[in-house]
């Protein structure tokens, strides 16, 4: 009813608080550093962020050689932290390879036996030989398909159910007893039952993958709802949100950080479960490839399978983390954030 009138608010000069005065006030608030509390730095940061774009180091540049200097300075500035990070990562992974290399080179044997372990070179040869063969790629594709299917079903059931359990006491009373009984059973223990339960091997393996991912996703989603600040739910209701709107616009986004923790953990457990299921009952898949290599005494292929699993797992959790950053840009500013 008053919508038209409200629109004009911006144009009205307001005594004391017109836009300019407001901004002056903003700067006034930031200027006294003694203004106690942890507020001042935040405000400075906010204003610094707002102002950072126009403040390109223009006045300092003398337009002859300096462009290069600036570029170099920037390069130095940006890469310093990252170089250290990257360097440490290289040392970390390099150390692993070095132990492997030295162990296999000198055939280290003192309780741990490197006697039959293939050398890095042998595995590399194997990778070059098998790595791009259709059979190997097919195994990878099958594993990825199983993971994605099981994981997608786990999200589709786990997240809505978790939100409901977290929100409604009665739903919690109904579902939690079952969850608490089924949860301690590891996905691998489901293998025999799963083979009996499902019409084919493929469905059984997807089911085991699903079980692995499901519980971490469910429990973290419940935790996300519970740790959501109650004042946000109340604020949502005061602003006229009905229950479905509250779910979609407050509870879901508010639980999202915890849900993503659940997805990251769930993805890890899903890989463990998948590989175990493939080793026991599979045809095709990276787990099957690795186990078959063991049966055929093809040692380099075992290592290749292991490394493949590691890389695939890393890629999957990397994708989840990236999606998380894209979906939750606000977390970069949250208190306690390291970014």
């Amino acid at each position: 009813m008053g919508s038209m009138a409200r629109v004009n608010v911006a144009a009205i000069p307001i005594p004391g608080v017109d836009a300019d005065a407001g901004r002056v006030f903003e700067t006034k608030m930031t200027s006294p550093p003694e203004s106690a509390s942890n507020e001042a730095p935040d405000e400075l940061a906010a204003i610094g962020l707002a102002a950072s774009e126009p403040v390109v180091p223009e006045p300092e540049i003398i337009p002859t050689v300096s462009l290069r200097d600036v570029a170099q300075a920037m390069l130095k500035h940006i890469t310093r932290e990252r170089m250290i990070t990257a360097g440490l990562a290289c040392i970390s992974i390099g150390a692993l390879f070095l132990i492997w290399y030295l162990g296999t080179k000198y055939r280290f044997e003192f309780y741990i036996r490197f006697k039959n372990v293939p050398t890095p070179a042998e595995v590399f040869q194997q990778a070059a030989q098998v790595g791009l063969s259709n059979k190997f790629l097919y195994n990878i594709a099958i594993s990825v398909r199983r993971i994605l299917t099981g994981f997608a079903i786990a999200i589709a059931i786990g997240v809505p159910l978790g939100l409901m359990i977290g929100r409604y006491g009665r739903v919690r009373d109904l579902f939690m007893p079952v969850v608490e009984i089924l949860r301690p059973i590891p996905a691998i223990a489901w293998v025999p039952m799963s083979i009996m339960l499902w019409p084919n091997n493929e469905a059984a393996i997807v089911y085991i993958t699903f079980i692995g991912a499901f519980f971490p996703i469910l429990l973290n989603t419940i935790h996300g709802v519970h740790s959501l600040d109650g004042v946000l739910v109340r604020a949502g209701r005061c602003l006229g949100a009905n229950e479905p709107q509250l779910f979609w616009s407050v509870i879901l986004p508010g639980s999202l950080p915890h849900i993503f923790t659940g997805l990251a953990v769930g993805m890890g457990v899903a890989w463990v479960s998948l590989i175990a299921a493939e080793m026991i009952s599979g045809q095709y898949g990276v787990g099957y490839f690795t186990w078959e290599a063991y049966s055929l005494v093809d040692y380099p292929a075992i290592m290749l399978g292991m490394i493949t699993i590691g890389v695939l797992g890393l890629a999957c959790s990397g994708i989840i983390r990236m999606v998380g950053i894209l979906l939750m840009p606000w977390l970069a500013y949250a208190s306690g954030s390291k970014r």
Partner: protein
């Protein structure tokens, strides 16, 4: 005079609380939080509720907001019984209650979005309100990038976005430092001057309640009752200088007297029975030990 005045219905926004009582728990563990409270806020009036901590003033506000149901009595808005939260009552909380996942502008738009308003209308309303709060240049920031004072200003205009009839404020400046607080009070009176809607303002700060209000209710210590109702005859619009005027000082003195008794009572109920004079005499020579 301003365009917004035309928007406000002078007959809307009447809060009427009658014989309200709230008891938490039951049996032996029952705690009477509020007892037989009656108060009202007339359309366009700014009313403060002041009292010692734990006196049930926030509980009272929660009832008017619709979060808590009273044990006895009733709360009405324009003749309608209040049973649940709704966008006809804007609420500003003591804790920062902006949605951290929404930008500043999207936060202000939230209520309008829930009401199904179009994107363009939401955008225009939110931007004009942010301009009013002096924060238009921060519209695309996230709440976590802002200071406490900025967050509360956004909280206030967010509550105003759905054109509520009343604004309920639960110690909104309680978490701010003193300097920010004083400026925020001025900003609030200015915003209120624009919208002229009824405000029920909870605080424990005496100067704040006088500076902002037309009327002040003073509550007793738990169980909370209305101890006194005080009119603030200071002219509008309120200016910061007024806090030095003799009228203001007198009101501060009056309220201080009323509240000190209750604060003492809230801290140690037995002190209230002995009276304040008894307190002074007994502590003197023998030390505090005798009393506590």
């Amino acid at each position: 005079m301003t365009v917004i005045d035309a928007d406000t219905d002078v007959h809307k926004g009447f809060i009427d609380v009658r014989n309200m009582g709230v008891t938490f728990g039951s049996g032996d563990s029952a705690v009477v939080a509020v007892k037989d409270v009656s108060l009202n806020v007339r359309p366009g009036e700014f009313v403060s509720l002041i009292g010692p901590s734990g006196c049930g003033k926030s509980t009272l506000l929660s009832i008017v907001a619709g979060f808590v149901k009273p044990t006895s009595g009733e709360a009405m808005l324009d003749g309608q019984l209040i049973t649940r939260p709704g966008s006809d009552r804007g609420v500003v909380f003591q804790q920062y209650s902006l949605f951290p996942w929404l930008s500043v502008r999207k936060n202000v738009e939230f209520g309008l979005k829930m009401a199904g308003e179009s994107q363009s209308k939401r955008n225009i309303t939110a931007r004009s309100l942010l301009d009013l709060a002096g924060l238009l240049s921060f519209e695309n920031h996230y709440p976590d990038q802002l200071s406490g004072g900025m967050k509360q200003r956004i909280g206030i205009v967010r509550a105003l976005a759905t054109s509520p009839q009343v604004l309920l404020m639960d110690e909104p400046f309680g978490a701010l430092d003193t300097q920010t607080r004083v400026v925020m009070q001025e900003i609030l009176t200015n915003i209120w001057q624009q919208f002229r809607i009824s405000v029920l303002f909870i605080t424990h700060d005496i100067e704040e309640s006088i500076f902002l209000s037309d009327r002040i209710y003073v509550m007793t210590a738990r169980p909370g009752r209305i101890k006194a109702e005080i009119r603030v005859p200071l002219p509008r619009p309120r200016k910061a200088e007024m806090t030095d005027s003799p009228e203001f000082m007198n009101l501060v003195q009056e309220l201080k007297g009323l509240i000190r008794e209750e604060s003492l009572a809230a801290m140690a109920p037995e002190l209230k029975d002995r009276g304040l004079s008894g307190f002074g005499m007994k502590v003197g020579p023998k030390g505090v030990g005798e009393i506590f």
